[in-house]
């Protein structure tokens, strides 16, 4: 069974982005870029399924600029077998990415696609669900546990108030939540090995997909700043402030 794992190149988790002075976007010059953290969880899960003998091949896919090759190499260092870069300089929105991934799925015929539940740059939380819809496949989002058997996936999902378990027919799309696993650190030998793994590049036009953005960003602004209040000396003063000044208890 083949598993496809889309991976996105995003601003590193630890970077606090700055809005550009002209309001056209955020400043990404000289900012550290990394694999989207949820996508790391996806790669880890796919690799574990391969190590457990459930999956036979793990293919990482990234859509975007040429530098996404680094993200694919990072996925291969965790254990993906090969990479596909869908290369474009166009700003890709979730619907366009879902269409590109659908085209890749048509070629690769995976039984399972494991996406991160959201990317930490646009915080959209859409691509996996959209891919499932376009492919006509079932979806199991926000997964905290998965077992594959008999052409089905049993996926435990994080929902309001607790957990639910779905049984979905394969092929299917799953999106990963935090508690699914803890991704391993890539070892130096595996990073070296990853450099030799196959990486194919295609263009959106090769896949017959129109990736033109549907949403126009008119401006990007700083959120209103919240300023620090005061320090209280002890619990008694805190209670006094909450009761008599803020009047919230």
């Amino acid at each position: 069974m083949k598993i496809l794992v889309p991976v996105k190149r995003v601003v590193d988790y630890n970077v606090k982005v700055r809005v550009k002075a002209d309001g056209s976007g955020v400043d990404l010059a000289n900012v550290k870029m990394s694999m989207n953290p949820f996508d790391e969880i996806s790669v880890e899960e796919a690799v574990r399924l391969k190590e457990a003998g459930v999956a036979t091949e793990v293919v990482a896919v990234s859509c975007g600029v040429g530098a996404c090759q680094e993200t694919l190499r990072a996925a291969m260092a965790i254990g993906a077998d090969r990479g596909i870069l869908v290369e474009t300089d166009v700003e890709l929105q979730p619907l366009a990415v879902a269409k590109l991934l659908k085209a890749v799925c048509d070629k690769e015929q995976p039984q399972l696609v494991i996406c991160g539940k959201q990317a930490i740059d646009d915080d959209a939380n859409q691509t996996g669900q959209m891919l499932a819809a376009l492919a006509g496949w079932p979806q199991a989002t926000f997964a905290s546990k998965v077992t594959l058997a008999d052409g089905k996936a049993a996926v435990t999902r994080e929902i309001d108030g607790g957990l639910e378990t779905l049984s979905v027919k394969l092929p299917a799309v799953m999106t990963t939540d935090l508690r699914l696993n803890e991704p391993r650190y890539a070892t130096l030998p595996n990073i070296m090995k990853a450099k030799k793994k196959p990486l194919d590049t295609v263009k959106p036009a090769d896949l017959g997909v129109d990736v033109a953005p549907r949403l126009a960003t008119l401006k990007v602004a700083e959120p209103p700043k919240r300023s620090a209040g005061e320090r209280v000396a002890d619990v008694a003063q805190l209670i006094d402030k909450l009761k008599n000044v803020a009047k919230v208890i």
């Binding site: 601003v11 988790y13 606090k16 982005v17 809005v19 979730p94 619907l95 879902a98 930490i120 740059d121 646009d122 915080d123 959209a124 939380n125 859409q126 669900q129 959209m130 891919l131 499932a132 819809a133 376009l134 496949w137 079932p138 979806q139 989002t141 926000f142 309001d160 108030g161 607790g162 957990l163 639910e164 378990t165 779905l166 049984s167 979905v168 027919k169 939540d177 935090l178 508690r179 549907r214 949403l215 126009a216 960003t217 008119l218 990007v220 602004a221 959120p223 919240r226 209040g229 005061e230 320090r231 209280v232 002890d234 619990v235 008694a236 805190l238 209670i239 803020a246 919230v248 208890i249």
Partner: protein
């Protein structure tokens, strides 16, 4: 044209997030219709009809909507969407799960997690964990939107008597089956709708400490319990306690952060709270930069003292 709001409900009652979504819909101009898709959901439809500002409730009562799976509900909404200028759902796990599927089926973009309506086609939404606010304009004929519930006041839950109309079910796709749900029953208020939230971080040291220290405080204040991602990752509490960029976004009257350092991803989830209290022994913790009242103290002393005095 009218606007369709997808209700979040448990067949018996309407979830609070629906009320905020109705308020967001009311800002778009047009009649607001609410879709209740469920099984044996007449009571939920009745509750939706009472919500202020709702012009019509459309109810689809069929066995295939019992578990409200994304596949079947999206198929239904796809069929209804043609009559609407906008389709809105709350940005809750259920709304986030279902609505992008409808968007792809209709070949339109989705605008996720809006915090303001500028006009019928222009919306404000946070990006980069709320460190930037993007104003985006949609060119699509139907706008599909998820709504950050904390950014819109709740519509009145009573007083209205909108007509309730049945709609035909869509085909049962039969690709997904619900095996089971483990819902933790709690007497505490829902995290998303609570007026007071007591939230704990890694400073608590263990799950036992989390429960031993924070539950009495939450009980005393009638508060919901939350947590930082660090506390969830460390296994102190379940994931649905998580407040932050990738968890729940909350904006209570009072947010008490206990042993939380205040990573940007956590601040993204709670910085719109009216009053923030931080209790942390590290005076340099970033949480103090957003706290209205900061108490530099050992939480193991301060929290019990707070319970005793509150």
């Amino acid at each position: 044209m009218a606007i369709l709001v997808i209700a979040e409900h448990d067949n018996q009652s309407i979830k609070a997030a629906t009320l905020n979504t109705v308020s967001a819909a009311a800002k778009l101009g047009g009649d607001v219709h609410v879709l209740v898709a469920g099984a044996g959901c007449a009571a939920a439809a009745e509750a939706a009809a009472k919500v202020a500002g709702v012009a019509k409730v459309r109810v689809c009562d069929a066995p295939q909507y019992e578990a409200q799976t994304a596949e079947n509900v999206a198929e239904l909404v796809k069929g209804l969407a043609g009559g609407y200028s906008h389709v809105l759902a709350p940005a809750t796990p259920a709304g986030k799960n279902m609505l992008p599927r409808v968007a792809a089926l209709l070949d339109v973009a989705q605008i996720s997690d809006i915090v303001a309506v500028e006009s019928a086609d222009t919306f404000v939404r946070p990006i980069y964990a709320g460190n930037a606010l993007a104003t985006v304009k949609s060119a699509d004929a139907i706008k599909l939107i998820t709504v950050r519930t904390t950014a819109f006041d709740a519509a009145e839950a009573g007083g209205n008597a909108a007509p309730v109309e049945a709609v035909a079910a869509a085909a049962d796709l039969g690709v997904t089956a619900l095996v089971g749900r483990e819902i933790v029953k709690s007497a505490r208020p829902e995290l998303g709708a609570a007026k007071v939230i007591v939230s704990g971080g890694r400073g608590l040291g263990s799950g036992d400490n989390y429960h031993k220290l924070l539950e009495p405080l939450a009980d005393k204040l009638g508060a919901a319990l939350g947590a930082s991602r660090a506390a969830v990752d460390a296994g102190y509490v379940p994931n649905d306690y998580q407040v932050g960029q990738t968890g729940k976004i909350v904006a209570p009257q009072l947010y008490i952060a206990v042993g939380i350092s205040g990573a940007i991803q956590h601040l993204a989830g709670m910085k719109d709270s009216k009053v923030i209290v931080a209790i942390n022994k590290d005076p340099e913790a970033p949480i103090f930069q957003v706290a209205d009242y900061g108490l530099v103290a050992d939480l193991f002393d301060a929290v019990p003292a707070l319970v005793a005095a509150a």
